[in-house]
Symmetry: D2
Subunit: 343 residues, 4 copies
C-alpha cells in the first residue's frame, strides 16, 4: 500500500465544489482572456471580502508567475527587490526575477520574516549612486516559506517603513489563507489590502487546481498590468477556469474553511510532537511544521509516511517538514499521531 504523503499541499486535485461548477458551466459561451462572467463574479466577491471596491484583480496560474509579473511590472531596469533568503523568489524560482533583469537582495532572518532593520541594512549598503542598484520593492510572504506568519503590528511597522523610504510592499500570498486562519493571526484581508501595495491570494495550495489572484491596491501600480500578463505568457485563453475556481472558493467562507482545515490538521500533529517533548526548527501556527527527530526516529516514521527531510541539525538529528492540505483526512492525522506516540 502506498504511503500517505505529507510532502506538500498540492498533491490532490481540487475541492469538489469547483468540479461541480466546471461541469455546470462547461458549455456556456464566454469571452476569453479573463473577460468572462466568472472572473467578474470572483473579483466582486474578493472585493467584498476585503472591503475594497477600487482594487484591480487579475487571475494567473501560479506563484512564480505571479511573482515575476508583479515585480517586473513595477521595477524600472535599475531597481531591485528585497527578500528574505528563505523567500521563494530568492532561491526557488530558477532566477525568474533576475531573468526579467532585476537583482534580488537576500537577507538572513531567524524566522523568514523581514523587519524594518533588515531593509535598512540593505539601504545602508547601497548609497553609492548611480553605481549600485536602487531598492524599490520589498517582497514578503505570508505565511512564510517556513510556516511563520506576520502579526498586525509587524506588518504595520513594515508598511510604514516602506512608505517612509519610498519602497513598495508586495506580499506573496501563496498560503495567505493559512496565515489568515492561523490561531495566532490578528490580521484581516482588509488589513492586508490596506498595508501592502500589491499582494496575491493563493488558490493552488488551498483547494484550487491552479490559480492565484493578484490584487493591486496602489493606484500607481495598476496601469497596463494586462500587457505584462500577456507578454509573460500568463494570460489563459480560457480565463474562465480561474474565474470559476475563485468564484467557488470565495462563496461563503470556503477559502478560509479549507485553509483552516489544513492548519488544524498540522496543529494536531504539532501538539502530538510537543507532548512527546520534540523540539522544532521554528515555531509555526500554519499548515507546515518542522519537528526535529533523531535519524532512527525519522527512519521509523518514514516506514508509513512520506515527508521531506528539511535540514540536518547535527549528525544524529534532522528537522523534517510535515505539511497538511485542505484535503488531509482526520483518519490519516490520527494514524500519524499514533505513529508519533510510538517513537
Amino acid at each position: 500500500m502506498k504511503k500517505y504523503s505529507f510532502k506538500n499541499d498540492y498533491s490532490e486535485g481540487c475541492h469538489p465544489n469547483i468540479l461541480e461548477a466546471l461541469i455546470k458551466t462547461n458549455l456556456r459561451h464566454q469571452n476569453g482572456y479573463g473577460y468572462d462572467d466568472y472572473c467578474e463574479e470572483a473579483k466582486l466577491l474578493i472585493k467584498q471580502k476585503m472591503n475594497n471596491d477600487d482594487a484591480d484583480i487579475h487571475f494567473v496560474s501560479g506563484g512564480t508567475q505571479a511573482n515575476l509579473l508583479v515585480i517586473s511590472s513595477i521595477l524600472r531596469p535599475h531597481e531591485s527587490v528585497i527578500s528574505a533568503e528563505t523567500g521563494h523568489i530568492f532561491t526557488n524560482e530558477t532566477g525568474a526575477i533576475e531573468a526579467t533583469g532585476h537583482k534580488v537582495h537576500g537577507l538572513a532572518t531567524s524566522d523568514g520574516k523581514l523587519k524594518p532593520e533588515h531593509i535598512q541594512s540593505v539601504l545602508d549598503l547601497h548609497t553609492n549612486k548611480p553605481h549600485q542598484v536602487k531598492q524599490k520593492l520589498v517582497y514578503i510572504s505570508n505565511s512564510t516559506e517556513i510556516g511563520t506568519i506576520y502579526k498586525k503590528k509587524e506588518l504595520q511597522e513594515l508598511s510604514e517603513f516602506c512608505k517612509t523610504n519610498d519602497l513598495y510592499l508586495f506580499m506573496d500570498g501563496a498560503r495567505l489563507g493559512q496565515a489568515l486562519t492561523s490561531e495566532i493571526n490578528d490580521l484581516t484581508l482588509e488589513d492586508i489590502a490596506n498595508l501592502t501595495d500589491v499582494f496575491y491570494l493563493g488558490g493552488t495550495k488551498n483547494g484550487a487546481l491552479l490559480g492565484e489572484a493578484i490584487i493591486i491596491t496602489n493606484k500607481k501600480l495598476k496601469e497596463e498590468f494586462g500587457f505584462h500578463i500577456k507578454q509573460k505568457g500568463a494570460m489563459l485563453a480560457k480565463g474562465r477556469l480561474l474565474g470559476i475556481q475563485f468564484s467557488e472558493l470565495m462563496k461563503n467562507e470556503l477559502y478560509f474553511d479549507l485553509a483552516k482545515h489544513s492548519n488544524v490538521q498540522a496543529m494536531k500533529i504539532k501538539s502530538a510532537f510537543q507532548k512527546k517533548g520534540f523540539q522544532f526548527l521554528s515555531e509555526t501556527f500554519t499548515n507546515q511544521i518542522f519537528p526535529i527527530l533523531s535519524n532512527s526516529q525519522i527512519e521509523k516514521l518514514a516506514e508509513n509516511f512520506d515527508f521531506y527531510i528539511w535540514k540536518k541539525v547535527n549528525e544524529e538529528r534532522s528537522a523534517i517538514r510535515i505539511i497538511t492540505s485542505w484535503a488531509t483526512p482526520d483518519q490519516i492525522v490520527d494514524d500519524f499521531i499514533i505513529n508519533i506516540n510510538q517513537l
Copy 2:
C-alpha cells in the same frame, strides 16, 4: 436571447471526458510539477501516436507561453527568429519574444506560410557580421493564423532548407489538430516530428481547458528545458491537470475527432458561402474561414451571430472571420447556413 458566437474556438470549457477524469482522479496523491502518473501516461500516448520514443515532452498552459519558452531556450543573445508577419509571435503576443531579448523578423506572405525564398531573403539582408543579428530559428504555424495548412512537400522543402542553413525549425501547433485533420492534409504527426526540431500540440483550442504539449525531437534542444519552464513561471504545481487532459485527448482518437469536428463545421459554412458566390480572403480547409461580405450583409448576419470583422477590403466590403470549435453544434451551423442563404 444571446447570439451564438463564432468569434473563437475557446469559448467553451472542455470535452466531458476530461471533466470525468478530473473527478475520478481528484483525490489521488500525485507528485507535483509534472512528475505525476497522468503526465507520464499522456507522454507515452503522444509518443505512440507519433511513432517516436526519444522525444522529450513538456506540458504548459498556453501558446504564448510555449512560444516564448521554446524560442528563448534555443537562442543565444545575438540570435533571431524568422516568422511570417501573420505569425502569432510577430504581432499578437505583446512582444513576448523580444521581451526575452530576441528580434523577430516578420515576413509578408500571401497565405501565412513561409517558403525557403522568404527565409533566404532575410539571410541575404543580414550578412554584415557581427553588426547584424544572426538568424537561427524559423517559426511556422500549422494551421496558420489565417487557417491555411502546410502540405508535406512544403514542409519537406522548408525542413531541408533549414538544415542546409543551420537553422532550427519550430512549429506552433496551437491548431495542429485542425491542420492534421483537414481534408487536404497529407502530413502525419510522425512527419511533423521528423521534419521539425520542436513543435507543440495545442490543447486549449481543441477541447482542453488549457494546455499545450511541447515536443522536442532534436536532441540538441532537449537539454535542461525544465529550468526554462520553471524560470518563466510556466511550471504548474498541479501538473496533473495537464497530464489528465492530454491523456484523455490522446486516448483513442479523441484529439483528432474533436479537431475534425471543428473543421467539418467550418467547411459546411464555407460551402454555403461558396454556393452563394461569396469570395474569401484566403482559401482555407480548417476551422477558420474568411468570407468577404458587403457591409449590409455583415450587418444582417450580425443580428443573430457574433463574429469578428477581420479586414476591410474596400469601402463597401470586408472579410469576416468565422471560427468553429470542437463543440460547435450541428443545429447552430444549420441555422447559420439558413441565415447565409437569406443574404
Copy 3:
C-alpha cells in the same frame, strides 16, 4: 601605394585641437565618471549653443550605446519603438534594442525619413490591447543613414504628431553636425532641442576619437539616467576623455566647421558626378552620396580609391557610397574628381 578610402567617416583619429587638449590636461587630477571639470565645461557650451539651460547632458562612447541607453531607459517592458527600416537600430546594431526587451517596428520609406502617416500606420495595426505591444517612442536619424535630412516643417509635423499621440520623439544625431550644416538645412540646434524629447550630438563621426552627447530636454525622461549608463557598462572611469573632446569641439564653431567641411567635400564630388550625368540612389546634401555607376565604371574607380558598393540596381549597374569626413583633404577630392571625369 595604399588607396584612399571613402568607406566611412571614422577612418582617421581626431582633430588636432583634441590631441593638444589631451596633452595639456593629462596630469591634472579629476573626478571620475563624468564629474570632471571638462565635462562640466562641455555641457555648458552645448547648453549655450542650443540656448537651453535645463537640458540634462550625458557623454557616452558610441551611437549604439546611446541608442540602447536612451530607448531602454524610457520604455516600460510592454512598450515599443518605431523606426525606419533603414534606421540604425533596426538592422545594424545586432538586436541591441531587442536585447533590452523591446520590439522595434521597421517601416519602409523612400528616403529614410519617417512621416506622421508612417507612424499612424503602425498605431492602426496595434489596437488589440493588451495582446499587442504599445508604441511609445519614435526613433529618427538626422542626417539619416542614407544621407538625407529633415526639414524644419517635417520635424515640426512629426513632433506635433508625437505629442498628440503620447509618443516620445528621439533623434539619433550620430551625424547631426552634417545635417545642421547641410546647404539645404533650415533647422537650428535650438529647434532640435525644442522639437524632440531627447537627441544626441555625434562626436565619433565628426572629429572626436569617440563620444556622443546625449541631450535630454523632456523633464520626464531625465530622472535617474545615470543608473542606466552605469548598468549598461557605458560609464567611463575617465569621463574626462569625453569632456575634453566635446569641450574642444564646442569651442568657437569647430564642431560645425568640421561637419561642414565633410559636407562640402561630398558636394564637390556629387557635383562632378552630376555634371557627367550620373544618377543617384537618393538625393543627399550631407557627407554621403550614392551615385549609380556601371560595373565597369565601378571597377575603374576602384583602382585608385576604396568605397562600398551599396546596392545593386540591376545586372549592369550599382549604387556606390562615397563618404567624406572632417579630414578629407582637398587634394584627394580633386584627384577623385579627375578620376570621375575620366570615366
Copy 4:
C-alpha cells in the same frame, strides 16, 4: 592649493607614450571596429607576453562592460555566476549582470578571495533542479577589490575545482597589472591564461585613457563573441584608440612598469603606517591600502590629502583607503609620509 587625491587610480589621463602614439598615427586611415593595424599589433604583443597563440583577444572600454559582456555571452538563461560579496559585479555595477538576466551569488569572504569551499557551499544549496538556478561560472578579481591577490596555489586549486564541477573560471583583471607585479606574487600572465577560461587585462587603471583587453583561452567560449560586443554597445567605431593604447602599454614592459610603480608607492605609504604602529583592515601588497585611523587622525590627514573613509571600525576609528596610480609622484608620497609621521 588643491589637495592631492589618493581617492582612486584613474584621476589622471594616460601615459605620455600613448599620447605620442595618438599624435603619430592620427591621420592614418584605418579600418573601423577593431580591424585596424594597432589592434592587430596589440593582440600579437599580448599573445607573446602570455606565450599563447590561440587566445582570442577583444578590446573594450571599461570593466563593467567587460564583465557584462563575458558573463552574458557565456551563460544560458537559467545559469548563474558566483562571486565574492566584495566582487565588483555583486554590488558596484548597478545590477549590470542581473540586467542581462542572470543571478549573481554573493559570498562573504575574509579577504575578497574565493576558495573551493565557498563555491561548494553554493552548489550544496542549489540541488533542487530545475527549481533553482544552475551555477556555471565563477568570477574572481585579481587583484581583488580590496587589494589582495591570488597566489599560484590558490588559483590552481580554484581552477581544478571549477574543471571538476563543470564551471567556467573568469578573472576580472581591472588591476591585473598590480597583482602580477606585487612583491608577493608568484603568478605569470601565462599562468593566468592557463588557469582561467577567460580574463581581462585592465588598461583604465594602469595608464590608459580607457580600455580593457578581454582574453578568451577556452575554445568553447570564443565563438561569435563579436556579436555580443556590438549588441551591448561596446564596439568602438575607432577601435584604433584601444589598439594604440594596448600596443604602447605592451611594448617593452611598460604595462608592468606602470603597475609596479603604483604598487611601490603604496607599499612605501604602508610601511610608514606600519612603522607608526597602525593596523590595517586587510593586508595588501598592491596599490591599495586600508590603514585604520582614529577620527582625529583622519581629520588631520584630510587637511592636506583627499581619500575615502572606507569602513567604520567603531565609534572612534575607521579604515581609510589610500590608492596610488602609475602617475603618483615620489614627492607626493614623501610629503604624505611626513604627514603620517606627524600623526
